[in-house]
């Protein structure tokens, strides 16, 4: 009975601590969904591949979204002609490298600041590395879902130098609608592309605000449910699994990392709140394994595979998964061996 009471108290404690951050994350992502113009953002991204990958990884500071919100954004970036390095860097790093997540991690681990900074550092290393590996492939299309490649239109945005494309938007064949000076809308572009461009510009402020609240409620509902399930699992593991088992698993430099990565993959908890989840393991698991959880979880987990499938084909997701898992494992193992 005591165990049950403790479990429930732990469960509510996680929920109550995490809910404000979830709300904050949802609010930011809804605001930015409607008020940030990705097109303008893309035009200032450096052309150098390494810098582009880094820039992509850091865009998260402008789009503080967790891993459920970042896939639609990465998808939009791709349809708007973002280089692969930017899109992949964003996809992997944005859920972690953003102010809300940083703050939440800081509150949870203020006694171990190295976890907060290494979380960001390791994420950037992994995201940039994988982004570079992917951009070695000249045409990323074979990795993407057909529906998305259709939305991306002709292959030319990748082939043509972006500078040319910016100077002469009208020197292309097709039907165009002149919007504000210098801005044209290609009407015979694939419909989704046209809609994506219109949607940002069209709605008036009142509608936008309403859409923002709608989006908040929608994301809150979805992510809140995942948070509830994740907190329940964390509380259950804490009170139901014998402490000796957890300790024997959690103190080994290798087993602890593998266990936490597997847990991260299964639990699928949102990155804005996962530090509180990890915190409940802080006394029993190695720091490296906590980091593995905090770095790997937001990149790929059971829940976002279904979302990733809206962008990538299965093979590409497998590559992402294997690469991310190996890199995170290596980095955190080095940390465990070094600090342990």
């Amino acid at each position: 009975m005591t165990q049950l009471n403790n479990g429930i108290t732990l469960f509510f404690s996680l929920l109550v601590e995490a809910m404000p951050f979830l709300l904050l994350g949802v609010m930011f992502s809804s605001v930015l969904l409607l008020f940030v113009d990705e097109q303008k953002l893309l035009s200032v991204i450096p052309k150098n591949v390494v810098l582009a990958a880094l820039a992509g990884s850091l865009i998260g500071f402008l789009f503080p979204v967790c891993e459920c919100g970042n896939i639609p954004v990465a998808r939009r970036l791709l349809t708007k002609g973002a280089p692969t390095a930017v899109a992949i860097g964003f996809l992997l790093a944005a859920p972690t490298v953003n102010p809300v997540v940083f703050w939440a991690t800081w509150i949870a681990f203020r006694d171990q600041p190295e976890i907060v900074f290494l979380r960001v550092g390791f994420t950037l290393v992994v995201a940039v590395t994988i982004a570079l590996i992917f951009s070695a492939q000249a045409d990323v299309r074979p990795f993407l879902q057909d529906s998305l490649t259709r939305m991306m239109g002709d292959p030319e945005p990748v082939a043509a130098t972006p500078a040319e494309a910016e100077i002469s938007p009208l020197l292309k064949s097709g039907t165009f609608l002149m919007q504000s000076p210098g801005q044209v809308l290609q009407l015979d572009a694939p419909p989704a592309q046209v809609l994506a461009q219109v949607a940002v510009a069209a709605p008036p402020m009142a509608t936008r605000l309403r859409m923002m609240v709608d989006n908040m409620v929608l994301e809150l509902r979805e992510l809140g449910a995942v948070l509830v399930i994740g907190s329940a699992i964390a509380a259950f593991v804490q009170v139901a699994v014998p402490r000796e088992v957890i300790l024997s698993l959690g103190q080994g430099p290798v087993t602890s990392i593998v266990a936490m990565m597997a847990l991260a993959w299964v639990v699928s908890i949102c990155s804005t709140v996962d530090s509180f989840f990890a915190l409940s393991f802080a006394s029993t698991f190695t720091s490296g394994s906590l980091l593995a959880f905090l770095v790997f979880g937001p990149m790929i987990d059971l829940k976002n595979i279904s979302l990733l499938l809206t962008v990538f084909k299965g093979r590409a997701i497998l590559y992402l998964f294997v690469l991310a898992a190996q890199l995170v494992f290596l980095l955190t193992l080095v940390m465990n061996l070094y600090t342990g």
Partner: protein, 265 residues
């Protein structure tokens, strides 16, 4: 997926049927807000969170209630206008079925409105490895003053002090006055109990127990586990589990009610 709002109205159902989905959403938001309100008003939030972060929970409460109310107003307005229209989000890829998510969230909020959280007690303290030593991952304050009266130190103050200078003889003869709950440690002789507290750094998820051994005066009945006591005694060195430890000797025990904030920080 891309149901843009530019097509206002065309999607409107037109009838005056109630927008149930929006109402259920509003109920969910309001229930969550009320749950947080209840935890705040009853003081149970102290059992769940570190006081430093309570404002975050309060902020969430206000936001949730505001969102719930605005949802209701929205529904009311569009119902009066006779348009059943709801604007949907641009980007949405469902993970869990909508009914499942809402149902789960409402169920948890209702449960939170009924259930009263209990603070962690001696059984958990024992299970989590109660100790007078702080582990590797524990909060180590950069500075604390030893200048104060020894009577003013709480259990965690004592433990932090011991962590810096562990020799128990150094404290011999000082007066200790601490409050906490009683934990029985199985291998200890009958005249010893542990007076303990949980310490939070963030929330109940990272609560860890600390405690000091107390040597009961001869002939005193052992207080039951989880009894809250205020203990005043003299610091002495005792050997327990083959280890020299600081203990409180010759104590006067006063039973106290469970404090509103049972944890230390």
């Amino acid at each position: 997926m891309t149901s843009t709002s530019s097509s206002n109205g065309s999607r409107a159902s037109g009838g005056r049927s109630l927008p149930w989905q929006a109402l259920v959403d509003a109920a969910m938001l309001l229930l969550w807000g009320l749950m947080l309100l209840r935890f705040t008003v009853t003081g149970k939030l102290y059992l769940l969170l570190h006081p430093d972060y309570m404002w975050l929970a309060h902020l969430a409460m206000v936001l949730l209630l505001a969102m719930g109310v605005s949802r209701l107003v929205q529904v009311g307005l569009s119902y009066r206008r006779g348009t059943g229209q709801t604007i949907r989000s641009q980007e949405h890829t469902a993970l869990l079925p909508r009914q499942f998510s809402v149902g789960l969230l409402i169920a948890i909020a209702v449960f939170g409105l009924i259930y009263t959280p209990r603070p962690f007690a001696s059984e958990t303290a024992f299970q989590r490895g109660i100790t007078d030593v702080l582990g590797q991952t524990r909060s180590r304050p950069q500075r604390f003053s030893l200048g104060g009266e020894s009577e003013e130190r709480t259990i965690v103050d004592w433990v932090r002090t011991l962590n810096v200078y562990p020799e128990p003889d150094a404290y011999a003869g000082q007066i200790a006055k601490v409050s906490g709950f009683v934990t029985h440690i199985p291998d200890w002789p009958d005249e010893f109990v542990m007076i303990s507290r949980f310490v939070l750094t963030c929330c109940a998820a990272d609560a860890y127990p600390v405690g000091l051994p107390v040597e009961l005066p001869p002939g005193t009945a052992r207080p039951a586990p989880d009894t809250w006591l205020e203990i005043k005694g003299t610091v002495q060195t005792s050997t327990l589990d083959g280890k020299r430890q600081l203990a409180i000797g010759d104590p006067t025990l006063t039973e106290i009610p469970e404090p509103r904030t049972p944890y230390e920080y």
